[in-house]
């Protein structure tokens, strides 16, 4: 297992946002996290990527205990993420956003830049960034500012930036929120392609159809606790899940 979480707990004041959660993710497959608003999905992802430090439990990655590591160290080890609210470097160019995403794979070129006529060769990184922008259909937008992109494009750019570090685990926090049907279908293809290429993907998503179609496994959170886990079919059939979550969705459909 690439990612192994044991008895993870995160409290805010008296509230256990994540309580005693066990979870694992393996390379080449998609694990979806679902659950009602406030269930603790984002908090769990924050504990995996390091934005929050867990109050209890262990986060293991490639067999290493990374529970106390700061986020940049986790990024270096191969954990990348997107944010629920999209957090791009809005005032920087689309290309720069992806190049920054590559930070942990890029060698410092400060000295080469300062030496007159020194050779700062960022061509490899640039090519890689170009490929990723192609992958997310932002080919012709390199020099635009990230903040100038449409919402859907910003979401795609954020995925390209996350992929730039060549991660082995990709955490996607509601990547389909605000996308139209066509964009959502495209996202689904992309997620499958990435899993096919060997990434482990943890996907937080409210769009049930997307989740059912894209995931190998689904874990259901409610009030910080994992109330079910299994294949899409098993989870769909779970009465506790229907009550806590899917039941509400059924009515809405």
């Amino acid at each position: 297992m690439l990612l192994e979480i044991r008895r993870l707990t995160k409290r805010f004041g008296g509230v256990e946002a994540v309580a005693d959660v066990d979870l694992s993710a393996e390379s080449g497959s998609v694990l979806s996290l679902i659950g009602p608003n406030g269930a603790g999905k984002t908090t769990l992802v924050n504990c995996i990527a390091g934005q929050f430090l867990a109050d209890g439990g262990v986060v293991g990655f490639r067999g290493e205990d990374i529970t106390r590591l700061p986020p940049h160290e986790r990024a270096k080890r191969g954990i990348a993420r997107t944010f629920q609210g999209v957090r791009l470097f809005k005032g920087l160019s689309v290309l720069d956003n992806v190049l920054i995403g590559r930070h942990s794979r890029t060698r410092s070129d400060v000295v080469a830049r300062i030496i007159p006529f020194g050779r700062a060769d960022g061509a490899g990184d640039r090519d890689k960034a170009g490929e990723l922008l192609h992958l997310v259909d932002l080919d012709s937008r390199h020099s635009e500012l990230a903040g100038e992109l449409s919402y859907g494009e910003q979401r795609r750019l954020e995925i390209a930036r996350a992929l730039a570090a060549e991660p082995s685990l990709l955490l996607l926090d509601e990547p389909a929120a605000g996308l139209n049907a066509a964009e959502s279908a495209r996202l689904r293809e992309l997620v499958r392609a990435l899993a096919g290429a060997g990434l482990a993907i943890v996907l937080i998503e409210h769009d049930v159809r997307l989740v059912m179609g894209v995931s190998e496994r689904i874990a259901v959170l409610n009030f910080g606790r994992k109330i079910a886990e299994g294949t899409p079919r098993e989870v769909q059939a779970d009465p506790g899940v229907r009550e806590a979550y899917l039941g509400v969705e059924d009515e809405a459909v």
């Binding site: 700061p70 993420r81 944010f83 920087l92 920054i100 930070h103 903040g147």
Partner: protein
């Protein structure tokens, strides 16, 4: 002839003053570019100036050696200070660095040094300004400058993308302190006397104003701001007494109408684009 000599001396002092101002504005540019508001550079300048002056006057060290030693001492001081204050963010960081400045001022208040400076033989501020501006301009487009820009735009996202935020902001702080210290050493030998008042609160603010008025997007901004705000009151004599009012007015006008600084007059299209996405006040 006498009048011409007088004139030249006055102007060489002015140009020396502009050079020092340029270095100071560049020194705070480094941290501002990385999105950090620190106000300790006047103090680093003071520590370097006093160290260099003491070494020349009391220990009879040759000026270049004293200058280097003073700058090195002040820069060395910035590292432990940075380690302490970079737990703080935003206005708290600014206040902590200001407090450090006050401490420095009080300490050196006890050591009044006066005497004739030795002049700036061989190392005119002009050369220093050119060298520092060149290096910083190159750093800006390097991986280091890109990481600073990322931190300025969004610290949390920068960290999630593998940037060691503390280390990079600390680097900006120390590099800025080194530049300010160099300026301090030079100024000690340019002015005929130094006193702690030169390195206090008002200088700290003055440095910030020069950089902000000029603009942070690139290193030409601080150069422009420093040159303008140092030269104008001297050239327009009648403004001298109203120097503070004059600067306040410029600052307000620039912040209101050109939030990215005067230098963006040369690139208004980009400012307009940034304004449209609500990022014009960042850099």
């Amino acid at each position: 002839m006498e009048a011409v000599g007088e004139f030249l001396r006055a102007y060489s002092t002015l140009f020396g003053g502009i050079g020092i101002s340029c270095l100071l504005a560049l020194s705070i540019w480094v941290t501002l570019y990385a999105g950090q508001l620190t106000l300790g550079n006047a103090a680093f300048m003071g520590v370097a100036a006093y160290t260099a002056a003491l070494l020349t006057l009391k220990a009879q060290w040759p000026f270049p050696v004293a200058l280097l030693a003073g700058a090195a001492a002040a820069t060395a001081l910035s590292l432990p200070l940075g380690l302490i204050v970079f737990r703080l963010r935003g206005v708290y960081l600014a206040i902590a660095t200001l407090a450090f400045g006050e401490m420095v001022r009080i300490v050196i208040l006890a050591l009044p040094i006066t005497g004739r400076g030795q002049g700036l033989n061989g190392i005119p501020p002009k050369t220093s300004v050119a060298a520092v501006a060149y290096v910083l301009a190159r750093v800006r487009v390097s991986t280091l400058g890109r990481a600073w820009a990322a931190i300025r735009e969004d610290e949390l996202a920068a960290a999630a993308n593998g940037i060691a935020v503390r280390r990079y902001t600390l680097a900006a702080f120390v590099i800025g302190a080194a530049v300010a210290s160099w300026a301090g050493g030079l100024s000690a030998h340019q002015n005929f006397s130094i006193d702690p008042g030169q390195f206090g609160f008002s200088t700290a603010v003055q440095i910030l104003v020069m950089a902000v008025v000029g603009g942070i997007p690139n290193v030409l901004g601080p150069l422009l701001g420093a040159a303008l705000l140092t030269a104008l009151p001297e050239l327009l004599r009648f403004l001298r007494e109203y120097r503070d009012i004059f600067q306040g007015a410029i600052l307000i006008l620039v912040i209101a109408y050109l939030p990215r600084g005067l230098i963006t007059l040369f690139d208004l299209a980009r400012t307009r684009r940034l304004m449209r996405i609500g990022q014009a006040d960042v850099a």
